[in-house]
């Protein structure tokens, strides 16, 4: 790949008008290092509330690295500097209670990873750990979050069956249900459909359209059709830099930067 031909400083990053749009999360000067390797540079992005923002780019462009830094899942393996502002607090600070923060910023992973427990327990497990003991309330949350993830009708009679008996697509929607059961504000999705067949992918995408009414979603995807179908905003990552960030429509039809245009039109490199 002749990716080196692009000027990494030639960028176009959209900023929001704080008067008109509510910002759910923003990063300031975010840098990520794996040991001595600088993996992500100068992240200054804002994410609007109740919108879906897609992060696109080639493998190794730093988009997953960036996403996983947002809820500090990379703490063990990477050094992250800079600020991540959420509700006026820098959640990249050492003083932050990680566990409380992650209840607000949920995550869905590349591969479905339900616990080897029953469908119901997959959802109630973390709730119980947080002290919700009332059975009726738990049942309510189970139904609500399964409905939210568009899985309720398929599993309502099998709630006590093992989650591992579900299909891949169902498992991934269960993972979404499990994440929204915690009542988060923001959902981070790291290529949630990469292990799913097209039909399951479509179902998850439909679910996301419903979800954005209540949650702010940031999704990493390799699938550009998916990005253009589901997202409101798109950020294009290249070699650890955010090259262009703007409305999805603009990114795909009228990109300002050559690298973005080449990538979305498939002439990359």
């Amino acid at each position: 790949m002749k990716a080196g031909k692009y000027d990494l400083n030639d960028t176009s990053i959209m900023n929001f008008d704080k008067q008109k749009q509510e910002i759910a999360l923003s990063t300031h000067d975010l840098q990520v290092y794996y040991g001595n390797k600088h993996a992500f540079y100068d992240g200054n992005l804002q994410f609007e509330r109740y919108k879906i923002t897609a992060l696109i780019g080639a493998s190794g462009s730093g988009k997953s690295t960036f996403l996983r830094s947002l809820n500090r899942m990379n703490d063990d393996v990477a050094t992250v500097t800079g600020e991540i502002m959420y509700r006026g607090i820098d959640i990249n600070s050492k003083k932050i209670n990680l566990y409380e923060m992650r209840k607000q910023i949920g995550m869905v992973f590349q591969r479905p990873n339900p616990f080897s427990k029953s469908i119901k327990e997959n959802i109630t497990f973390a709730l119980k750990e947080n002290g919700i003991k009332d059975k009726q309330k738990l049942d309510e949350i189970v139904e609500k979050s399964l409905r939210g993830a568009a899985l309720w009708d398929e599993v309502k009679d099998d709630l006590n069956k093992s989650a591992l008996a579900l299909s891949g697509g169902q498992q991934q929607r269960l993972c979404i249900a499990r994440a929204i059961a915690m009542g988060p504000d923001i959902l981070l999705m790291d290529e949630p459909c990469s292990a799913l067949d097209p039909i399951s992918t479509l179902k998850v995408e439909e679910t996301m359209h419903e979800l954005k009414k209540k949650y702010t979603i940031i999704i990493v995807t390799h699938n550009m059709q998916q990005a253009s179908r589901v997202s409101d905003y798109t950020a294009f990552f290249h070699m650890g830099h955010v090259i262009e960030y703007g409305k999805t429509k603009d990114i795909f039809t009228n990109p300002k930067i050559q690298a973005t245009e080449d990538y979305v039109s498939g002439n990359f490199g």
């Binding site: 409380e100 923060m101 209840k103 949920g106 080897s116 029953s118 994440a179 915690m182």
Partner: protein, 295 residues
């Protein structure tokens, strides 16, 4: 030769090797059981042994074996569980933990007679614990710990990393993620390891000859006060186990029916290990199903 023939030949050789292993095993088992089981009776299983006359049993030795097994597991399992969790989940990758791992490897290849002599010098003589069950249990812990720790560590490592991330992403602490999600999934593997170790402990003789001793004192099965000398639960009485008993009557047994007792005791030993393995496996499956709610 063409590919098909090579394949057939290789398969035949592998099958033959497997068959040889099975035949040897079946022959051994069959021989021990056939020559031993006719001598096994309720009387044999429950009466104390006799040194000079015929008609002795293995009651006390059998009890000692089980008691020692339970004690050893009680000491070694929590230790190895803690060490295994630390090594698998928390230990940083550096020279110190590498050193710990290497020490475990070395310890696991220590001959059991060396463990026994070490236990004899340290616990029996130095700490003045005498030939006692507790000396034996601690010696066997040394013998057991490396394998069990390794087993716990491996079983935990076999649970996919994604499960840990799932727990953390839900706002669970690392400790809760490990104990409530990872550990239950690793449990069948851990249990298998315990069973294997239990078999080793049950059949171990060399490490016990110098620690738990070679004499089965008469114990009173109606006295369950662990501080009383004649109580079966007393930790400081010498306790000859079944395996040690078999070794002893074969090397210096002077009772007229030594051969029969040895055969019977061997059969009982094997059957006990068999029962133990099967029930532990059953228990492991049940436990796994309960903890994971899978069908």
């Amino acid at each position: 030769m063409n590919t098909k023939k090579v394949n057939k030949l290789a398969l035949a050789v592998i099958k033959l090797i497997a068959a040889v292993v099975v035949v040897i095993l079946a022959f051994l088992l069959g021989k021990i059981l056939l020559s031993g089981l006719p001598h096994v009776s309720w009387h044999f299983l429950t009466t104390p042994s006799r040194s000079f006359t015929a008609g002795g049993g293995i009651g006390i030795q059998l009890f000692n074996s089980f008691y020692l097994l339970i004690l050893t597991l009680l000491i070694s399992f929590p230790l190895s569980l803690g060490a295994g969790i630390y090594l698998a989940e928390y230990a940083p990758k550096n020279r110190v933990t590498e050193g710990v791992r290497m020490a475990i490897e070395v310890l696991s290849s220590l001959p059991s007679v060396v463990v026994g002599l070490f236990g004899f010098l340290l616990f029996v003589v130095q700490f003045k614990m005498g030939f006692s069950i507790i000396s034996g249990a601690i010696a066997l812990t040394f013998f057991n710990l490396p394998l069990l720790t390794r087993n716990v560590e491996d079983s935990l490592n076999n649970v996919p990393k994604l499960q840990r991330e799932a727990g953390l992403a839900l706002g669970l602490s690392k400790w809760h993620t490990v104990t409530k999600i990872i550990l239950p999934e690793a449990l069948p593997g851990i249990l298998t390891g315990i069973v294997l170790c239990a078999g080793r402990v049950f059949g171990e003789a060399a490490a016990l000859i110098y620690t738990a001793g070679q004499s089965a004192t008469n114990i009173d099965f109606s006295n369950w006060n662990p501080f009383d000398e004649s109580s079966p639960l007393n930790l400081f009485r010498p306790a000859e186990t079944l395996a040690v008993h078999i070794w002893k009557i074969n090397s210096e047994g002077i009772m007229p029916d030594a051969e029969q007792i040895s055969a019977g005791a061997s059969a009982v030993l094997i059957v006990a290990v068999l029962i133990f393995n099967l029930s532990a496996r059953y228990l492991g499956n049940r436990l796994y199903k309960r903890l994971t709610a899978s069908k």
